[in-house]
Symmetry: C2
Subunit: 272 residues, 2 copies
């Protein structure tokens, strides 16, 4: 296991029942990858404290560096993520005065009283840091356990993204590997995926481990197969990331043009 | 654990890295729920045979009735789902003559030869049934192990959905519980989620276990909070499903109208 492994847990019955498209997971998968983490898995679970706690324990056994949960921090009866996190980490839920202040200020600003349901949002696992929520009311939660960092964020995308960008990501940048990611997306028309497969395999055989290639069949155009080929390279050196990706793209393009009467077009390229 | 538990595994590095939105999982989550299965989890994993095999083993230990995997059945070097399934089940991959025939016919129709990469798609775990793919080339795979059924389908949504609807679902209908699902979606303007929470909690306290309620905050309209409230009820009797859902909706609507100056509107209602 790499020491920069990451897991995402998207909690909520509405996700597993397919009533909500899991855009939070793809957002986080993208951001964590760009920070240089290797995202190993995304796990969505129903709102069941025991099941969630058990799977947190299973995932922690793989010793990831980061686990990010989304969902289940709100005031409703089925918002029980932190209860599950506390159970998995063998800690108690305790009233966090930082979190309580955050919640209190939100409702005071709207002239609304602090009810039992609202105070519930300020109970965090013992030893955690409250993450301010600039958009909604439920605070997030950052807990360090041995080598892992457990981060819990709300499920509402605007709240989750605002907390990630303003608070979580700046801290993870200090912890994760600092890398550049070069990406090239090409569109190939006229080569079936099964003919492209041995070409990609050959190129990868001689490529560094930081290179990643994936073909996505996109149907047909005028009876010819269309494939989008995605090339990604990560490196601590900006130039190296881009050069490796560029060289790989040229190599594949020249093989395709020689062996097939196919058209190749670069859709996007860039380094971040 | 209920004996109608289901898991979905969406395999592919492109999913965990957030380059693809996992629409397959929400499609399957929806279909399985409507068939009466309790979808417990959705797990996406990177293209790593050992990790995939290990997590299949973990999930199987929970004794679900069905596990559906998508992705990793194609001709490319990283399409290794069936290798992982075989490993987890302690079976060998063997050439399936049914699957080979399916693959052969597809390529013959296009006047293309059977290469090593194409024949690879016909290797299935020992004892499995090949599922025909009416849209693409990679066959799917149905394996019965003790109490669980493992179903592997391709990751291309059109292929996966065609195979699900024409082949998989008719068979699962015979195995799953036969239920009706009634659903009501309401839009509530003017009640904050934290005020709605105790109302929902109260209603659920007296409701049957087959009733499910979830609130989704949808921002604000003219400064007032907007919530979509989803009520679902499953039952073996069609009328009972709808009546329970309707009664629950009326109960919540009358409390909201009495306690708040809020507007409530039914967006959709139906039984399937």
């Amino acid at each position: 296991m790499s020491s920069y492994d990451a897991w995402i847990m998207s909690l909520g019955t509405e996700v597993v029942q397919g009533r909500v498209l899991n855009t939070n997971a793809s957002y986080l998968g993208r951001r964590l990858t760009l920070l240089g983490f290797r995202v190993v898995g995304i796990l969505s679970l129903i709102d069941d404290v025991d099941i969630i706690a058990r799977y947190i324990t299973v995932v922690l056994r793989d010793r990831p560096r980061v686990i990010v949960t989304t969902g289940g921090l709100g005031p409703t009866y089925d918002d029980r993520t932190l209860e599950a996190v506390a159970k998995a980490l063998n800690r108690k839920l305790a009233l966090s005065y930082d979190a309580l202040n955050m919640v209190k200020r939100k409702y005071e600003a709207r002239n609304m009283p602090l009810t039992e349901e609202r105070i519930k949002m300020a109970y965090l696992p013992d030893g955690s840091i409250a993450i301010p929520n600039p958009v909604g009311t439920a605070p997030g939660c950052w807990i360090e356990v041995e080598n892992a960092i457990m981060i819990s964020l709300p499920g509402v995308p605007q709240e989750m993204e605002a907390m990630w960008e303003s608070w979580v990501e700046p801290r993870l940048r200090l912890i994760g590997p600092s890398v550049y990611i070069a990406e090239i997306l090409m569109k190939i028309v006229g080569v079936p995926e099964s003919s492209l497969a041995p070409i990609v395999k050959g190129v990868l055989r001689e490529a560094p481990a930081e290179l990643y290639i994936k073909s996505h069949p996109k149907g047909e155009e005028l009876g010819k197969p269309v494939i989008e080929l995605y090339i990604m390279c990560s490196s601590r050196e900006k130039e190296k990331a881009m050069t490796t990706a560029e060289n790989t793209a040229s190599k594949i393009m020249s093989i395709i043009k020689t062996e097939f009467k196919a058209s190749v077009e670069v859709l996007t390229r860039g380094v971040v």
